[in-house]
Symmetry: C2
Subunit: 351 residues, 2 copies
């Protein structure tokens, strides 16, 4: 795995992005931001599932003002997503937003941009420049999309830098994975601002999580990316769960259950699928990192799942409980699940 | 994206692996191979969901002999998965297996290995050498696992090459993604045999598909990999679906629905999640490649989903139908779904 890119650290509320900090997982609400109660409730659910930064849409002035009330009842930093209208940016800053997502080049008047940048600088509030492949300014169509994305982002960055503003985070999102990868790679040669990674319009959870895992996985493996947002059409909590699974697959974060289980094959003599599902359901919301294995083969299982903290393997009515590749005891198949749960319990208590 | 590695082509039944052929998607049954009816039924379901090669476990001689009967009722090539026992390999070849998965180094006696290789050569039947991180031979523990995997595989390869056998395919699977990536990278410097990619014991569908997408995504993006098998504890058809989604995300295969849909945000005024789910359910089993978009914003939707063959975008009771970024017509929100389905229908008929 490539060493992580040395990005400049940025503070969003109490969360550090970049500069060697662990990769931060974020999401966005899909409630009406003006509905403070509904938005707070969703953000609290997001907090519970491990979301570290939350973004809200700010389509009008009432939404911008609602940020003040929302902030009172949540614990995570809040980012205001703003398009075109500088007054919404000013109102969101006034209301205490911890960061803005705003492309300054889309605000027509220079004086308006200046007033936003000044207000953000005074408060030390970062701005994410978020370029999407689908909404690029008109340009040279013969150029590759990735290059046009990078140039658009550099244009926005220059506007901020010209006003001595450098609390900047950058995202370059496309639906197409190779385009997204190429854009971040190019940008990594140009600036050292931290990167917010994402694949846009990735789709519903089933397919969108795979597309995001491919795209973000490639980038993170190359050492690029300081915070990620998985975009799914569905429950925002799914975005957070998928985000952590991507990071866990690369050893970049530890969180809750990591389930090692073999595909049930024609050699397996127990109900491996059912057993695995039960284990997953029971331990899914565990927060402490633990690697648990469910294997179909008593002979090879413990060895193959050597990296598991604890595991079970079954066959022909009997099964074993093992820890770190070593057999702890043999027991009847019907007792496997409970024995595993007891072992998990004791491991969590020991720690 | 890196150019695909130039691997030597290999014929498994009527399917070509490597040598520039499209990446092949395979899976493995989890039925008892001796139960011919159940195994044939599962393989037929796998064929229907697009699986191109199927592997079966061969734990004993009855399973090996069942291959002849299974082969009569299926259309895809069949691979026999064999461990240790050379008689099972001979019986599987005799029964007409299109390929073996077998690590010759695990067969103790040289004469036994020779008889298997001779029989495979006579029939032109390929052998996959499949090394798993969890079952490496004892060795130098101070060496990185990836290197030990590669050395184990090279040992198996040498045994085959020494007998002038080169119908070889190689896999190097670990649960750990960076280890897997490293192993294939190292092996790519050593041999030009085609690669079968996989992440072992990746877990149940929800998390296993993400781990596999990260691992296989990185490798495929680097140009490595000629066939893939996603290992999930669940329905083997899920392995195939996930496999295609990984390939589609990188533009390496086209198949069925590609759904572009934005995460519902606080700006969206229609039931985007519900609408997306309906579209996914209705078009999920479509085979012809088609990119369909479901967007929450009439103004930006068509532009952002420009790459969609057809799409809808809604807001405030009204919506639009668009094709390749161009608005086709405006209609009431309640008619959006049916209008989209009609348009899909006409597109599929036109083709």
């Amino acid at each position: 795995m490539t060493r992580r890119r040395a990005s400049r650290p940025l503070q969003i509320g109490n969360v550090t992005i970049g500069g060697g900090a662990p990769v931060v997982v974020q999401s966005m609400t899909n409630t009406d931001t003006r509905d403070v109660a509904a938005t707070v409730e969703q953000i609290r659910r997001l907090q519970e599932c491990g979301c570290q930064i939350v973004r809200v849409a700010v389509p009008d002035i009432r939404a911008a003002r609602a940020i003040a009330a929302i902030k009172r009842d949540i614990a995570v930093p809040l980012v205001a997503d703003i398009h075109f209208d500088y007054r919404l940016a000013l109102a969101a800053l006034e209301a205490g937003a911890d960061a803005l997502r705003l492309n300054p080049g889309n605000i027509r008047q220079k004086a308006q941009v200046s007033s936003v940048v000044r207000a953000a600088r005074e408060r030390g509030t970062p701005i994410r420049i978020g370029v999407n492949a689908g909404s690029l300014p008109p340009g040279d169509d013969s150029q590759p999309v990735a290059q046009r994305m990078v140039e658009a982002a550099l244009g926005h960055i220059r506007i901020l830098e010209d006003q001595d503003f450098d609390l900047i985070k950058v995202s370059l999102k496309a639906f197409d994975v190779p385009t997204t990868v190429e854009a971040y790679r190019l940008m990594a040669e140009k600036v050292n601002y931290p990167f917010h990674l994402g694949i846009t319009e990735a789709g519903p959870p089933r397919t969108g999580s795979i597309r995001s895992a491919v795209g973000l996985g490639i980038l993170l493996y190359e050492g690029l990316g300081d915070t990620i947002r998985v975009s799914l059409t569905g429950d925002p909590c799914d975005e957070v769960t998928v985000g952590y699974e991507i990071l866990k697959a690369l050893g970049l974060r530890e969180k809750g259950l990591t389930l090692i289980s073999c595909p049930s094959c024609g050699r397996v003599e127990i109900d491996l699928v059912g057993l695995t599902q039960r284990v997953e359901e029971r331990l899914m919301s565990m927060d402490r990192p633990l690697k648990v294995a469910v294997m179909g083969c008593v002979v090879n299982g413990p060895g193959e799942a050597r990296e598991a903290d604890v595991g079970i393997a079954g066959g022909r009515g009997k099964g074993i409980l093992f820890r770190k590749g070593q057999v702890v005891k043999t027991l009847p198949e019907k007792d496997l699940f409970n024995a595993l749960m007891a072992e998990v319990e004791s491991l969590l208590t020991d720690q």
